[in-house]
Symmetry: C2
Subunit: 215 residues, 2 copies
DNA sequence: ACCTGAACACCGTTCAAGT
DNA sequence: ACCTGAACACCGTTCAAGT
């Protein structure tokens, strides 16, 4: 075929096809040859648009992070609302694409959407009165919690087979085989309960940053 | 060479060499051929001791989890001490081998040390009076937080290059390039602050599970 | 039982060749 | 500029062959 009149590929098409492939078959399924086949071209064609496979993954990761909503910061409410909104939106974005979380959780690097999110979150906390060093810690702990919760389901981490839990070895895991069945409730319940505890605990440590009670 | 009098390999030697290779060069560096070379044998030899590469990784992951100390549960103190001890030991074990965290965080599956840890943590919380459904959530949120914090440094996720943070794009990240330098302080501070907040917040939600104040 | 080399179907990436 | 096939140095795994 050689060079077509109109390019067969574009960065956008490569990225969206890669994300779809990762979502449906997992990160190991994304090979340059497989991705190229999905796009109807030969493997090396991708190198006209990206210099390495990792650069493709960076672009995919950034489109996922771009979905995170940080508009909750700076609405005038106290910092808790902004933090809760951000964390929930962050988790929703990652949970929609759990397979890419291990790559994404390496940090923003030079990815624009990742840096923009970090800027908004850190800036939001500082704007609400948090000292910068503390604001950094808060952003870090939210990332820990969100990435950990999206990285892999807690509930699905336990095999769905009663015989895996011998009561002689694991006296308290008699019902662990039921976890997988209630995956969403368990994981979402744990995230929401943990997030509330985190925010409540931070508020307890910093009462001076809250609006005075009782109007 | 064919079969030697004394086996050249053992599961233990394979596992410890694999862990050392993962620690020093990362998860992608662990190939069966590379590992075999490190052990002084040819690639297929490994298949006399493990049926797949994933089975090797399972064994490696389980030795990491086996280091976690769960003895803090059931010392008679309230649940907070057990939870804090467990979480800190859990994080220390994972942070010592960050490269295997993405694999490990998939859950215990059928790995004995992983199940033993889950059994002790869940049993400890239930023994301290937590309703099973809540105890499950607490174990899940600790896993989220620990795995997220060990998965990748927050601080090292930001490149050590001031020009990466254009003030026009990221007005609040003017000092982000300094994060990497203070990696340990940032990450350990965030973990410890977050863990305390989590425990404080849980205590607030469940005052009935704490010993009465003031003796 | 436990090792070997050869083989199979894969990888990421480079490069000269085509238009 | 943007695609191709051939090639290089890799993968995980199977298998017949050796002792």
């Amino acid at each position: 075929m050689a060079r077509p009149r109109k390019p067969l590929l574009s960065r956008e098409r490569i990225v969206s096809t890669a994300l779809a492939l990762i979502d449906s078959e997992g990160l190991p399924a994304l090979s340059t040859r497989r991705l190229a086949a999905e796009l109807g071209v030969s493997g090396p064609s991708l190198y006209n648009h990206f210099t390495t496979k990792d650069e493709i993954l960076d672009a995919v990761a950034d489109t996922v992070i771009a979905e995170v909503d940080v508009s909750g910061f700076g609405t005038g409410a106290d910092w808790r609302a902004g933090l809760l909104d951000w964390a929930r939106s962050y988790r929703a974005a990652l949970a929609a694409h759990p397979q890419i979380v291990p790559f994404l959780a390496q940090g923003p690097g030079r990815r624009p959407a990742g840096l923009k999110m970090a800027d908004a979150a850190f800036g939001g906390m500082v704007g609400a009165g948090w000292p910068p060093a503390q604001a950094t810690r808060v952003c870090a702990m939210v990332r820990y919690f969100v990435a950990g919760s999206a990285l892999g389901s807690f509930a699905r981490g336990f095999v769905d087979d009663p015989s895996a839990y011998d009561p002689a070895d694991y006296p308290h895991l008699g019902r662990a085989h039921l976890l997988a069945e209630h995956q969403r409730q368990v994981d979402e319940g744990a995230f929401e309960t943990g997030l509330r505890a985190l925010v409540d605990g931070l508020a307890l440590q910093h009462p001076e940053l809250l609006p005075p009670k009782g109007g």
